[in-house]
């Protein structure tokens, strides 16, 4: 294991490499805290309306494609594990391995988006996009539409985060391969990892709320 205190260069406002790293990590977590509240507002809207219209939400949820959602959950969880190994490779200064693992992570993120895309296409064909063309076989279509409004909003914003993640991770993979930017300087990779794991956590909560409200009837 290389000594992490070798990390260079230390900016003049920091006492040492450890303080510099802690400040960066804290800043990332602060950003993630704002993201928690950003997604939290949508989760709150979902919770409030689901308590108000439980049957409409259950009926609407049964029209979602659980095979797609479940596969995508597995894809994201695996991508998070690969990202954890990438961060480890960065801390060990294994440039080639880092690039490879980042590339695999980005590819899994892209697979997630492709699957989500097929799912969206299916839902648009079925008339499950809110608006004038919305139609659904449910007792309370108005509030089933409310579920789909939240579904498109929340998965859409999440997919945007995945897209940003895939672009960033691809860029980092290229940097790892082509430059020595992360040589004794793995903090950026560590922070990128935090972002990607956060995106994974959001999906971990979205998955049961969207696909599995009332599957047993």
């Amino acid at each position: 294991m290389p000594n992490e205190l070798l990390e260079a260069p230390v900016e003049h406002q920091f006492d040492n490499a450890e303080q510099q790293r802690d400040a960066a990590t804290m800043g990332m977590w602060l950003f993630l805290a704002t993201e928690v509240l950003f997604f939290g507002a949508m989760f709150l809207g979902y919770t409030a309306y689901r308590f108000s219209y439980p049957q409409a939400f259950a009926d609407a949820s049964r029209h979602t494609l659980i095979a797609f959602g479940g596969t995508n959950t597995a894809v994201l969880l695996i991508s998070s594990a690969v990202m954890a190994f990438a961060v480890r490779a960065a801390s060990q200064n294994k440039r080639g391995l880092l690039g490879l693992l980042l590339f695999v992570t980005a590819s899994l993120g892209a697979v997630f988006l492709v699957i989500k895309g097929f799912e969206y296409a299916h839902e648009i064909r079925e008339g499950l996009f809110p608006g004038r063309g919305f139609r659904i076989d449910a007792a309370d279509p108005t509030h089933a539409e409310l579920f789909y409004y939240l579904y498109w909003l929340m998965t859409g914003v999440h997919a945007l985060h995945v897209t940003i993640g895939v672009l960033l991770i691809s860029f980092f993979a290229l940097r790892a391969w082509l430059t020595d930017a992360f040589q004794n300087h793995d903090t950026p990779v560590e922070l990128l990892g935090l972002y990607w794991h956060f995106v994974d956590i959001v999906w971990v909560f979205l998955f049961p709320l969207i696909y599995m409200i009332d599957r047993h009837t």
Binding site: F43, F51, G70, L77, A81, V204
Partner: protein
Amino acid sequence: MNAPTARTYLINGVALLGFLALTIAAAYINLGPLNTIVAMSISAAKAALIILFFMHMRYSKPVMWLFVGAGFFWLGIMLVLAMSDYLSRGWH
């Protein structure tokens, strides 16, 4: 920071996929109102595993716990205060 071992990451990844299988299986069993509670508990457990091991919180300083906890604490305030309004509107 003591970096976790590759073995830790591997076990964590497998545990997460196990939880995923568990949450899907549980959804097809009729537990009444418990279904949602079980699903959200499993999600919380998955999130805890990701935060503790993949995001290295298990190996971080107390001040980092404060930063992470603050985000979720504020989320808790938002959810609890707002839902205490929605859930009590029907009370007379």
